[in-house]
């Protein structure tokens, strides 16, 4: 990665006027996407992902702030003069052109030689497995095929950055996984910066170098998939990414940077905390379901978090079995048990069980270091 960010937003925000009210679709945001980075915007519907993309592509003027592409201020520059391409959420294929003509559109505008266009479009259609469909019009293609045309149409231009607005939304699982791998490969090979919008958190986690989790027009957390998953900065992020167990409590004592929260005799949670946390601090703790061990026998180890509870529900998921446990601490905790070793369920509904996990798997949400 070179020093100048491929895409940089400085204090960018967007206010829409709708029916007399101002709606802040994107709150003032700072964001830098590195050269060749696979950057995902993740968030629920209406959180401002598309609006952010449209400001980068130039379809929406920011109400304030500056947009930089490769270090150049492009705020106010027309979309056709920005070397980024967008894959639209709704495909937005040209209905009067064939698949081939759709893909060739950008190259024709750039006055690339005819032979060259034919070669590159052919290659691109092969990559998205649409060879033989050159002459089809978008109307004659399935949603997934149209989506792949949209992808090819943007990729073929080899732009500095590609903005993809839920590009795989219409594909079935198998094709989706295939395209995920393909996209990742193209991105690595060509070294294009990707800004990728999705509300599929699994997709974001597996594909991205970094993820920005948005909520209500604001970036809640920005980090690597591991950081986002293991160390959610807010309750929202914890709940939005994966399944999260949240425990509320206050610190009883601290030793060696690890806080102890006692819920009952023999029931406690250990959590590593920064120095800002002191005795009595109220904490909200996130524990991922796959980190928890479930057992009907009392645990031997003393330096673990331990809670007891009653199994309420057991759901078999193929690769794992999911248990929902009502703890005596009050919260419902979900536990994933890999089905690698257990030939049968560890416990059934109504059973008293012990839940244990190591201290480093507890994470205090929203604590300033």
């Amino acid at each position: 990665m070179s020093d100048t960010a491929a895409i940089e937003l400085v204090g960018v925000h967007k206010d829409f006027l709708s029916h007399g009210d101002t709606v802040q679709a994107v709150k003032p945001t700072d964001l830098a996407v590195g050269q060749g980075e696979f950057f995902s915007l993740l968030g629920p519907s209406g959180c401002g992902k598309t609006t952010t993309m449209r400001m980068i592509a130039g379809f929406e003027e920011p109400s304030g702030g500056t947009v930089f592409l490769d270090g150049n201020d492009v705020t106010g520059v027309a979309p056709h003069k920005r070397d980024v391409n967008m894959v639209f959420q709704s495909y937005a294929l040209f209905p009067h052109l064939t698949a081939y003509q759709n893909v060739a559109f950008g190259l024709e505008r750039k006055k690339v030689a005819k032979d060259e266009i034919r070669r590159r479009v052919g290659e691109m259609l092969e990559i998205v497995s649409l060879t033989g469909m050159e002459k089809r019009s978008p109307r004659e293609m399935s949603g997934g095929q149209q989506q792949r045309v949209a992808l090819a149409r943007a990729l073929v231009n080899g732009p500095r950055a590609l903005l993809l607005d839920e590009p795989l939304g219409a594909l079935d699982l198998k094709l989706r996984q295939q395209m995920q791998i393909e996209l990742k490969r193209i991105q690595r090979e060509v070294g294009i910066t990707f800004v990728y919008v999705t509300h599929d958190q699994g997709e974001a986690l597996t594909m991205s170098d970094r993820i920005a989790v948005m909520e209500g027009g604001r970036i809640d957390q920005l980090g690597t998939p591991r950081e986002i998953y293991e160390k959610p900065a807010t309750r929202f992020v914890a709940g939005f990414i994966g399944t999260s167990n949240l425990l509320d409590g206050s610190v009883d004592s601290i030793s060696g940077g690890v806080a102890l929260l006692v819920f009952a005799p023999e029931e406690k949670v250990l959590v590593p905390v920064p120095p800002s946390v002191t005795d009595g601090t109220k904490l909200e703790i996130s524990v991922r379901p796959e980190k928890i061990d479930l057992s009907r026998d009392a645990p031997a180890a003393a330096d673990c978090s331990v809670l007891t509870g009653t199994v309420r529900e057991v759901v078999y998921h193929g690769t794992s079995t999911n248990y929902t446990v009502r703890t005596s601490a009050g919260a419902d905790l979900v536990v994933f048990d890999q089905n690698a070793y257990s030939a049968e369920d560890l416990a059934g509904p109504g059973d008293r069980v012990y839940l244990t996990w190591s201290p480093q798997h507890s994470y205090p949400i929203g604590v300033r270091p």
């Binding site: 379809f59 979309p79 937005a92 009067h96 978008p138 943007a154």
Partner: protein, 284 residues
């Protein structure tokens, strides 16, 4: 089996209507054009084709003139209507309905009255030419009324909504994201218009041409009100043959000839433009 009849039953009222008010008059007219005689002594069907030959020979000038006026009118209509439709479709926002209503507002007044009011606008010392002449910008002898310009202006004015509406509908159906996609793929606003917006609006233009060329070519009001003997159109000839000379065979023969010419023209136009492509886009 009964449900198979349903589609035909649905066609029945419209079909009967067409039979009564379209097919019957057509047959009557065709028969009339091949009859000989006069109003006093009555007409007899003699299969006299010569009427056609005579009618076409005598009124060739008016026939050709009508087609030329119709064609010029249609071209001017496209040029005038497109920007209007474009503006309403893309910039109308919440005022779309109001703007369309304003466009149609003058058409609540009778066709003839509207055309007559154009007389006042175009008359030699009227509100348009008067001030220009007083200011010395135009020669005193300059006039528009009675010229082809006046007739074509009238035609363009009278048929404007029939061109605006279909183009508007076509533009309205264009997904703005598709235009943005063109802009994203390095098309300047002008290129995006030429490569995307215009081709997608073609079905509307096509419909507009059909809706205006035919009635404009056979119009008989504009030339009568705004023109002179040198702008006489075929519609006027047919009207006067029917209502003034009571020469029914000639009037019918001219009507049929006009219809045939227009049909051929429209089909040739559809062929040239490739209706299939146009309809494909329209059906998307």
């Amino acid at each position: 089996m009964r449900h198979r009849l349903a589609p035909y039953l649905l066609v029945l009222p419209g079909g009967l209507w067409l039979l009564l008010f379209f097919v019957v008059p057509m047959v009557t007219m065709l028969s009339l054009s091949l009859q000989e005689g006069d109003v006093v002594n009555g007409y007899v069907l003699t299969g006299h084709w010569q009427t056609y030959v005579d009618a076409i020979t005598n009124y060739r000038v008016q026939l050709v003139r009508s087609l030329i006026y119709g064609a010029i009118t249609t071209v001017l209509l496209i040029v005038a209507a497109f920007p209007v439709a474009y503006f309403i479709a893309f910039y109308g926002r919440r005022r779309k309905a109001t703007l369309l209503f304003l466009l149609l507002l003058p058409f609540f007044v009778s066709f003839v009255l509207r055309t007559i009011s154009w007389r006042y606008i175009l008359t030699d010392e009227g509100i348009l030419l008067g001030p220009l002449k007083d200011a010395g910008l135009l020669a005193d002898s300059f006039h528009i009324l009675g010229t082809p310009v006046a007739v074509i202006l009238g035609l363009v004015y009278n048929f404007l909504p029939f061109m605006v509406l279909p183009i508007y509908v076509a533009l309205e159906r264009i997904d703005p994201r598709v235009v943005e996609a063109a802009r994203d793929l390095y098309a300047s606003p002008l290129v995006a218009f030429r490569r995307v917006v215009f081709p997608l609006a073609l079905p509307g233009v096509f419909a507009g041409v059909l809706m205006t060329f035919v009635p404009a070519s056979s119009d008989y009001v504009n030339s009568a009100v705004l023109g002179s003997s040198s702008t006489t159109m075929i519609g006027q000839v047919i009207q006067s043959q029917y209502l003034v000379s009571s020469n029914y065979p000639t009037a019918s023969a001219l009507s049929f000839t006009l219809m045939a010419v227009l049909l051929i023209g429209v089909f040739a136009y559809a062929r040239a433009l490739g209706t299939e492509d146009v309809m494909k886009v329209a059906a998307r």
